[in-house]
């Protein structure tokens, strides 16, 4: 008979024996694997899935990447570069490649939302949202109080929005401030007609002043492909690049020469180049006033204003003179809110070098003919200054709009804090945002309408800014809109019909078909991903150098920051989103210490500046400009000009998603808007900052 002691011995033996069996080890292994199969964990749909590909164009990426979207059983899963696209040639930006996944962003709007009396939002059905907007449109049509802001840079959608605005008795249609408006204003100042593009791919020497041509300026993916083609690993480079700017950003890192100049000293740099060109015998006939203005900008004077050694300026001019097809591109690192005067100088220098309408030069492109009746022309759209309009409303110099309609733009985040956008939204009678994401601007509107993303709707790209050719490509839906989102173009055409406005088309696709027909393009071909490229140009007519304007713009500039203060230089990467998007989840791994340090904005300075200010690397500081201040951490980086602090733009979202909110700070908090001397344009400027130890 087994007694108690015997039983315990049996149990002990069984326990020892069990250790020599797979029970424990296999059991633990299976238990850990079991955790992979909890029912709430999403599963992959594996099996015999059919792969298909649709060619389309990115609306999210400003460089209009040609995309081949891979679909598995009809569901888009991946964006690949489209080798047949003549612009991006198989290249794809980090932003475009994340477009499929961004459809499922936590910030994606799922259904229409209406603000309630207590400031919270309630979900409403589309018919209720449309009825609400329709009533507001009727009211706005009566008093002509519609103001419309578009975040689209180059699509036919802007024609629909401007046509609707005009049809409603208003002229307040605006584009988000960008380089296109600055360039258009500069070209107009020179007396030019048409629009200007830069033939980057065919140039053999590009001098980029402030324009991040390899990172965020113009058709950057196309630029990178052209740069790559011209620089074979085993051959002689067919193109050289010099970048002048205060930060050694990605463009400077890729360029043959980085010319570190102080922030805001671009005009001095360009005047120095003009002085040397004239001195070397460039004909001044017809531009005597330019030569007269430039005469005083000796390399030594330029060095005092820019911090660039005179011999380096001389080297640049030698390169320009020796090049077969030199090109000067002037832009801003932010890609928005820049000044027109430096761009005018850049254009004038291109003219001086005889590079207008030449291969690899500055090209005058014809403006697209609108397909919507009553739509504003390209030139008229470019002349509309949103920054000035916002300032006027904020300063109560003009009436607030009765209806503010915002299409895929996020001015609350992307414009300077001091611009007055909050005041505009606060004073507008009613505000509506067509947006894909619940961003900072949408959250301040009375009605939010979920917009279908570029992969879910018909749209188009008509010559991205900066390109030296006419380019047209179609965006087509590769999948049904997620949730309850709808294409804004179709919603607006429906509403216009309901309030008795004839916009000429029943659907937005019809308008695009008309656009294709007007350009002589085959719709079926466009649907297959074919793009149209034309190298047609407008003839160069006599340009007038605006010497008075330039002289005024040069006045009072190049004052060194007072002791202890630093000039601010910004930089950004395309991967960190644009003015109307944010950092896609896939791109968070591209954030480096150069942008964020321990979750805070990196304030990059060279070690001499850090020593001079008594700081040390990693120290928590605040950048103070007047009443504005920004938290940051000191980072030592020798690729920043003396007396300058470099800050990354694209961070500090407060209302987007978990991948953006609370990361770093928004540099726009330091910016303010000022009137540019000479041109009178409302431009963005960051004052010098003082460093305060936090």
């Amino acid at each position: 008979m087994l007694d108690r002691r015997g039983f315990l011995k049996f149990v002990g033996g069984a326990a020892v024996g069990t250790l020599a069996t797979p029970v424990v080890w296999k059991g633990l292994d299976d238990l850990s694997i079991w955790t992979q199969n909890w029912p709430w964990i999403p599963r992959l749909d594996k099996g015999n899935n059919l792969n298909t590909y649709i060619s389309t164009t990115s609306k999210l990426c400003p460089s209009a990447c040609g995309m081949r979207v891979r679909l598995v059983n009809g569901r888009p899963v991946r964006v690949l570069g489209d080798e047949s696209n003549p612009l991006s040639r198989g290249g794809v930006s980090a932003l475009a490649s994340a477009e499929v996944q961004l459809r499922y962003s936590p910030a994606r709007l799922k259904r229409p939302l209406r603000r309630t009396a207590d400031g919270t939002f309630v979900a409403i059905p589309w018919y209720e949202a449309e009825a609400l907007l329709r009533a507001e449109l009727v009211k706005a049509a009566r008093d002509g109080g519609l103001m419309c802001l578009s975040g689209d840079e180059n699509g036919t959608m802007n024609e629909l929005l401007s046509a609707l605005t005009v049809a409603m008795g208003s002229s307040d249609f605006y584009l988000m401030p960008g380089e296109a408006q600055t360039t258009a204003a500069a070209w107009k100042s020179l007396g030019g007609r048409g629009r200007v593009g830069y033939d980057f791919a065919r140039s053999d020497f590009v001098l980029a002043v402030g324009a991040g041509v390899l990172e965020n300026w113009g058709p950057v993916v196309g630029n990178r492909r052209a740069w790559g083609r011209a620089r074979p690993q085993d051959g002689e480079p067919a193109m050289r690049l010099a970048y002048a700017g205060p930060v050694q950003n990605n463009t400077a890192a890729g360029a043959d020469w980085w010319l570190p100049i102080r922030p805001g000293s671009e005009m001095a740099f360009l005047m120095g180049i003009a002085q040397l060109l004239f001195a070397q015998g460039c004909p001044s006939a017809g531009v005597e006033s330019f030569a007269e203005l430039a005469a005083v900008w000796t390399p030594e004077k330029v060095a005092r204003a820019t911090g660039l050694a005179p011999e380096r300026l001389q080297q640049v001019v030698e390169q320009l003179a020796a090049a077969r097809a030199p090109l000067i591109i002037v832009g801003t690192d932010l890609g928005q809110g820049g000044e027109a005067a430096p761009v005018i100088l850049g254009m004038a220098l291109n003219t001086l070098l005889g590079r207008v309408n030449q291969d690899g030069g500055l090209r005058i492109l014809p403006e697209p003919e609108p397909v919507f009746p009553r739509a504003m022309s390209y030139g008229d759209m470019m002349a509309q200054d949103f920054t000035a309009a916002v300032r006027a409303v904020a300063d109560k110099k003009r009436a607030a709009p009765s209806l503010l309609m915002i299409y895929e733009a996020n001015p609350v985040y992307a414009m300077p804090r001091g611009a007055g956008v909050e005041e505009l939204l606060g004073s507008a009678g009613f505000s509506v945002s067509f947006s894909c994401f619940l961003d900072e601007t949408a959250r301040r509107c009375d009605l939010i309408l979920p917009s279908a993303m570029g992969l879910e709707r018909f749209d188009d790209v008509n010559t991205p800014f900066g390109l030296g050719e006419i380019f047209y490509a179609l965006c087509q839906p590769v999948a049904e809109p997620l949730y309850e989102s709808r294409a804004a173009g179709d919603v607006l055409l429906d509403l216009a019909r309901l309030i008795g406005l004839d916009m000429g088309y029943a659907t937005f696709r019809e308008a695009l078909e008309a656009r294709a027909a007007s350009l002589g393009l085959d719709w079926a071909g466009l649907m297959k991903g074919e793009c149209a490229i034309s190298r047609a140009t407008l003839p160069l007519e006599s340009l007038i150098f605006p010497s008075g304007l330039i002289a005024e713009a040069l006045e009072g500039r190049f004052i060194q920051p007072e002791k202890g203060a630093l000039a601010v230089a910004t930089f950004t990467k395309l991967a960190f989103g644009t003015a109307d998007s944010a950092i896609p989840p896939f791109a968070t791994k591209l954030i480096t210490d150069a942008e964020l340090t321990a979750g805070e904005l990196s304030a990059s300075m060279n070690s001499a500046t850090i020593r001079e200010l008594g700081l040390r690397e990693g120290m928590k500081i605040r950048l103070v400009a007047g009443e504005m201040s920004l938290p940051a951490r000191v980072r030592a980086f020798e690729g920043v000009a003396m007396g300058t602090v470099a800050l990354a733009a694209g961070f500090g979202h407060t209302n987007f998603d978990a991948f953006n909110n609370g990361k770093g700070a928004n540099v726009m908090d330091l910016f303010t808007t000022v009137e540019e001397p000479g041109t009178g344009l409302a431009v963005w400027r960051c004052p010098d900052v003082k460093i305060v130890k936090a």
Partner: protein
Amino acid sequence: MEDRQESTAPQKEVCSRFKCRLCGVAPFFVGIVVALVFGWWLFPTLMFNSQEQPVQFTHDTHVNVAGLDCNYCHKIRPDGTFSAIPTTKECAVCHQVLLGESRAERVFWDEYVRPGKEVAWLIYQKQPDNVFFSHAPHSLENCNNCHEFSKTELCLFCHVNVKDKAPTYHENRLSGYSKDTMKMWQCERCHANPNHLAGTAANNACFVCHK
């Protein structure tokens, strides 16, 4: 006699003491034996349930009788994706009418082809979602740069033999995976083999298989 008796008594005592000690540890050893029997014989049986495929499919019939090549159903597409198991629609290219009088054919035709329903095949080699596997680099062409595998040998390196009757599918009651699902150490027979580093791209870095 008495002397002899006197002399054997202590021996008996030693013997019975020895027996008692044996008896004392016997439950311990019995416990070990029972645990071993349970652990090595009963436990593996209890851990898995047995299921038969919804349709009794035989590769033998399709290859040897119908004369189909493996690639007819299991092919690597031009874009590198693998077609895996054909859909009912693809099977119906041949099975649009009843082929033969077997019970399996009748079940397949009645329950799947006619209603256009997919067969819920039980996948012997089902891998977790965190494993990214592509058939494309595991091809005969790649492996036979150095080896001399036949098509069957290469397939059987990972797959169970399905030549004749579809084998019984054993599903782990706890983890939910097939008994034949390859474990990582089995993948590492090739991936961690230093000889593979020179001639192939099959290294053992995490991101090769886990994306």
